[in-house]
């Protein structure tokens, strides 16, 4: 019997045949939803093999290692209550955790509140860049809802839509997107000029298609302004929610795009790295989620001309939805993303 988990982290046992069936079903679900190519039978077997290995921690064969990045790095150690400054946290990531890039982030992690403290963040960027050698990104979320009432000046589409005020909801989102673009460009310019190597737009499109639009536009402006700036667009989920429904970028309707379509637009806007996200279904098994996540990510990688880093963490990339992601699943998901998904990084 194979000991594995459900997407909510609980342990289950399955036979190898059951694992195979679930991986195949996960692949089929991705194919159906994304209208993408399935994995080959050899690739499916490889995933089954990764799931069925008896070791608690599994890894890649030599030569298949990936670039390893972390988002919101400085926040994760701060949350543990360890009294330590941001530069020291990033030194730990670089020298202890083996991170290949570093991300400095303010505790609120959204562009809107950061705009008023940019000088402080510039100081942190400058200080960190003096004591680390890995590429230093500054990360934050576009977080469009912060521009809507009661937190911002625009009307709240989440209140307008259920009332049937569709045009008003669309206009409110477009207005919020313009505010978000300004803040993203302002903050990103500030930290880049203070010495950061680039910016990570993290959890992009969490509020749907208008937020994805804002991020793409901000990327476009920054790319023109700073040709050498590294820009990562990391997504919030596998599917761009059609909360606006008809907003377009470069003539493409953004609602309903899956990773293999998202990456093309990120590329056009000027992104250097794309962070693909596939959500974990907590009611399905880890093998089902893994087959599904790898199918989506592989299709994304094949469609991309820029590096693709798969998100492998709590509730994404097949990792169960638990506070401390279990290493048996994290290591298996990472291995499958490298060896089957052919990712450039994690």
């Amino acid at each position: 019997m194979v000991v594995t988990r459900m997407g909510d982290g609980s342990f289950i046992t399955m036979t190898r045949d059951e694992v195979l069936r679930d991986v195949e079903e996960g692949v089929a679900d991705a194919v159906k939803r994304g209208k993408i190519e399935p994995l080959s039978s050899d690739e499916i077997e490889h995933i089954v093999d990764i799931c069925c290995r008896p070791q608690k921690f599994v890894s890649v064969e030599k030569g298949n290692e990936l670039v390893l990045t972390y988002d919101s790095g400085t926040l994760k150690v701060t949350r543990l209550g360890i009294p330590i400054g941001m530069p020291q946290i990033l030194q730990l990531y670089e020298r202890v955790f083996g991170a290949d890039s570093l991300e400095l982030a303010y505790v609120h992690y959204s562009f809107k509140p950061i705009k008023s403290i940019v000088p402080e963040e510039q100081y942190a960027v400058a200080e960190t860049s003096l004591v680390t050698t890995a590429p230093l990104l500054y990360g934050a979320m576009p977080n469009l809802p912060l521009y809507t009432k009661p937190d911002g000046p625009c009307e709240n589409a989440a209140e307008l839509l259920p009332m049937g005020k569709i045009e008003e909801a669309k206009r409110a989102q477009e207005e919020a997107a313009e505010y978000a673009i300004k803040d993203m460009v302002f903050v990103s310019s500030g930290v880049y000029e203070a010495g950061a190597d680039g910016i990570d737009f993290d959890t992009t499109a969490a509020a749907g298609d208008a937020e994805f639009y804002a991020t793409l536009k901000a990327t476009e402006i920054l790319r023109e302004k700073y040709p050498d700036m590294a820009i990562e667009i990391g997504m919030a989920g596998e599917f761009v929610l059609g909360f606006h429904g008809s907003i377009e970028y470069d003539g493409v309707r953004l609602a309903g795009l899956y990773p293999h379509k998202q990456v093309g637009l990120a590329e056009k806007a000027g992104a250097s790295v794309f962070g693909a996200v596939v959500n974990t279904n907590s009611s399905r098994t880890f093998p089902w989620n893994l087959g599904r996540a790898v199918t989506f990510c592989k299709a994304c990688r094949e469609a991309a001309n820029i590096p693709v880093h798969a998100n492998v963490g709590m509730g994404v990339g097949a990792v169960p939805l638990v506070m401390t992601p279990p290493i048996d699943c994290v290591s298996r998901a990472s291995t499958a993303m490298a060896e089957v998904g052919k990712m450039d990084g994690l």
Binding site: D8, G242, G315, L321
Partner: protein
């Protein structure tokens, strides 16, 4: 046009979110002496069900879903007036929805509310950042059959547990069925806190609520 073709056209007007055509077909059905209940059940309901399925598959989005629901509402109002005794089609159930206290995320909740309304439920949306005491008070006032709560953060999902405890303490646990959802919420969490159901997404939320009300 035979009856089935007419009913297909009715369903298509809903799928196309064509409010004007949906209303016009309702009037035409009455003029031609068709059974209003049959037109509702085999035309408009079929259409809105397909809209729900397309939304679930990502082929259609929230604004279209709402427009379709609005088309059904207006057309069925016309037909309901003609139903014998003037009795309107009853709501499928009364549902109170809120995002828990400390949590300001309301997009997922908005989708659930829209889907419930589209499926004929009477819904009270209390908004976001709502204290447990307010949820219970409103549920009593509204006569809710189901309370649905959303939490997007691991730090706020404990409020769903507080709601369950408060319902037990007040002797209201059997009176209101509870459904929980939100990004960090799982079926295991629902079982742990004693919620009656867990919904992975908005579509499942509607199905679970229907099951709770049938049960």
């Amino acid at each position: 046009m035979d009856k089935q073709e007419f009913l297909d056209k009715v369903a298509q007007s809903v799928i196309d979110s064509d409010e004007e055509l949906a209303e016009q077909l309702a009037k035409q059905a009455l003029e031609e002496g068709m059974d209003p209940l049959e037109v509702i059940n085999k035309g408009y309901v079929v259409g809105i069900k397909q809209v729900g399925d397309m939304f679930e598959c990502g082929e259609l989005f929230l604004p279209e879903l709402i427009q379709s629901a609005e088309a059904v509402k207006k057309a069925t109002e016309i037909l309901n007036e003609a139903i014998a005794g003037g009795e309107e089609k009853k709501a499928k159930g009364k549902v109170l929805i809120a995002t828990v206290e400390g949590d300001i995320h309301d997009i997922g909740k908005a989708i659930v509310v829209s889907l419930l309304v589209a499926n004929g439920f009477d819904v009270v949306d209390m908004g976001r950042d709502v204290p447990v005491a307010d949820i219970i008070a409103k549920a009593e006032e509204f006569g809710a059959q189901v309370i649905g709560t959303s939490a997007l953060l691991t730090t706020t999902m404990v409020r769903q547990q507080e709601l369950e405890k408060a319902l037990v303490e007040k002797g209201l646990k059997g009176k209101f069925k509870t459904v929980v959802g939100g990004a960090p919420v799982t079926v295991r969490w629902a079982e742990k806190i004693g919620a009656d159901a867990y919904a992975e997404n908005a579509g499942e939320g509607v199905n679970k609520i229907m099951q709770l009300l049938e049960g």
